[in-house]
Symmetry: C2
Subunit: 406 residues, 2 copies
């Protein structure tokens, strides 16, 4: 049904913007490279006959009219920002699968009942600005526009400033929009589909997430003449926290993750006892009580460690998403489309957050996963098979068509 | 004997160059601020009637002639580079105590038998370029000039390039110089003198040091969909190493230190499992076998940790100084000077490396410690009492005078 070759070509063209020597992409949210990628998306959608609008947090909506303009749109989308050492498919696949749906409908001369919209959501990754899924969060009224525009990156630049700098602070209202249905295609970003030899993951729901910034403070002093027992070494404390995050996640299986992604010791000199460590904590679980239990266990270790080593700490929440189960109708639509196309498929739970999780607040939502090589994502070597991507796109087309007449 | 007020004024003037808002100094080796400090030292020494020469690694020698030009010089000195978040006294006290000795001898119209030299040694701290005590190491032929000029900082700038950039690659030969005696005054950088209520530390020797760079490599992947048991998390491995360095040092008491001063996780994104960690290890001990035993114990933990977490590692030595005992005559000279001046004093072992350690290879050497507030050094809040500094300088003057007629 869809043109897999054309989808692949567009993915490869988009991946040039921010291409890294290791074959990945570095295109952080709201940088000039992000602007170039946005401009390319806008051009492609206009060429496909869509009307493009941009809202106040930079989300881009490409609308293909339906027969009945009063129906809420059937939407799809994802993101085109990447991790600092990201790949070509995370997010971009979902957006360009949406563009391929538009192009295929044009090829086939199909007009849908409800209008369709393909959306680029701002800053899904959350690596430059926390939290992640920022644009869809504002759209779903989980975050206010005001607080979001004030969030700052590590250099102190705010979301509002960055949006203005790239010309993507648009006039469209950020909230109050009706959603007929929302589907999002995405690479799995984990090893399960590949391991099970399935082409399509029918996504039942997603792990809840709680993120924190943690700062530990001790006293910086000379690494030679300062006796071991008199030290207040912030890094020795941080090491105990890293070990605890890992251990606690192992103790809370199944469907539990705990990760320290960022950690930096200050002042960062070979012969200076670190007086400060800044780190991030990322906890995920499918059950809300178990998610909280992980965090309480780690908080206990932080308190005990600080008491033992004479440190102080600050623990600041930076993101909080409850576990989510997708709409049964959408889950059925994805399963039915995969079955109808004769594609091998299985039910799966998403370990990652996705914009679909926020869209599920506004209307029925579902997701389609396809395998990625070795389950590796958030890595420059991220890879996916053209045939799997085309299959995921075909499932997306079927599911959207079904929803647009329902 | 010496002018403590003048010594303090010079210390405060030098501390302006690279002064930080927290009251410390950031004047990394071979930066333009280091050049400014060097220029000031040269001006002060020329004003005190000395001839100033610079060698190929940027060491600066200010020579005050003696009656007998054929005698090898009695030397003193230290360094004026600082830690990134360093203080006003570490190194600078030793250099300016030397300048104050010159000025006092001029005031008193004293001519010594042997010539005197006050030296600024290049890059003692080792924070921008490893290893530490670089200039004195080349002078003592522990390092070759060629290998030293090729060492690079984190930005890839070599020592040779940095020396040329600030105009301190001098014509004087870097080695082959006779040393009549060498004394160095320094703040203790630890809490012992303050704790014992003594003004002067008679330094018997110094801990041996072995430094390493350690890189751990795993696989970066998504913090959500990557199951805990399939991760190759370099930071979880690094945390075990940090804990081991600390534990092993505690197990090797007394006179044992183990410190991880630098640690950075890559790529450094909240929701990415770190695929690489780069860190530094600093081990110190007074007994060579116990120093090696610490390192072997930590190496065992590194190997076991990497095996457990599917990581690879690279452990590269960056500095290696054996424990050292100073010349008995010089130790006696310092003890005698302190006693003669009626100053409270005690024997002490240096936990830090000092240029005197390399000078001890070329001739009799000794050191004089004075207390620093709270034992804190390598910290912007480093502080010392003017009276203690003047006392240390007076001991230096006596010890040098005794050596110059001996
Ligand atoms: N899909 C994805 O990479 N989302 C980023 C947010 C997360 O870390 O789950
Ligand atoms: N004295 C001093 O800070 N030396 C730097 C080398 C060391 O770390 O011991």
């Amino acid at each position: 049904h869809v043109n897999g070759e054309r989808l692949w070509q567009s993915l490869m063209e988009l991946a040039q913007l921010g291409a890294t020597v290791k074959g990945g992409v570095c295109r952080l949210a709201l940088t000039d490279l992000d602007r170039q990628a946005r401009d390319l998306f806008v051009r492609w959608c206009e060429e496909a006959g869509c009307t493009v609008t941009v809202d106040g947090v930079g989300n881009i909506f490409a609308r293909r009219p339906g027969r009945n303009a009063s129906l809420p749109p059937v939407m799809t989308g994802s993101h085109i920002d990447t991790q600092p050492t990201g790949g070509k498919f995370d997010g971009c696949f979902g957006v360009l699968a949406g563009v391929e749906v538009l192009r295929t409908l044009n090829d086939l001369g199909i007009q849908t009942e409800a209008p369709l919209e393909v959306v680029v959501w701002t800053n899904e990754e959350g690596s430059r600005f926390a939290p992640c899924m920022m644009g869809s969060g504002v759209f779903a009224e989980k975050f206010t526009l005001e607080e979001t525009l004030a969030k700052r990156d590590a250099e102190g630049i705010s979301v509002g400033e960055a949006l203005n700098a790239i010309g993507y602070a648009g006039p469209r209202a950020v909230s109050g929009h009706a959603v007929g249905a929302y589907f999002e295609a995405h690479i799995e970003q984990g090893p399960i589909l590949e391991d099970q030899g399935k082409t399509i993951g029918v996504v039942l729901g997603a792990l809840g997430q709680k993120w924190f910034d943690l700062t530990l403070k001790g006293v910086e002093a000379h690494a030679g003449p300062t006796p071991m027992h008199l030290r207040k070494d912030a890094l020795v404390g941080a090491a105990a926290v890293v070990a605890a995050v890992n251990r606690v996640a192992l103790e809370h299986q199944p469907h539990a993750c705990g990760t320290v992604g960022c950690l930096q010791a200050y002042p960062g000199s070979r012969n200076v006892i670190p007086g400060e460590v800044r780190m991030t904590l990322d906890f995920r679980h499918l059950e809300p009580e178990r998610l909280d239990s992980m965090i309480e266990a780690v908080r206990g270790v932080i308190e005990a460690t600080c008491a033992k080593h004479g440190l102080s700490f600050e623990l600041t929440p930076t993101a909080d998403f409850p576990p989510l189960y997708f709409d049964q109708g959408c889950v059925e639509a994805v399963r039915g489309a995969a079955a109808g196309l004769g594609l091998s498929h299985m039910d799966i739970v998403s370990g990652a957050g996705h914009d679909a999780i926020f869209l599920a607040e506004l209307g029925p939502a579902g997701m389609i996963f396809v395998p990625c090589e070795g389950g590796i994502s958030h890595n420059e070597i991220e890879n996916a098979a053209p045939a799997d991507l085309a299959a995921g796109c075909a499932v997306l087309l079927r599911a959207m068509l079904a929803a647009s007449v329902a």
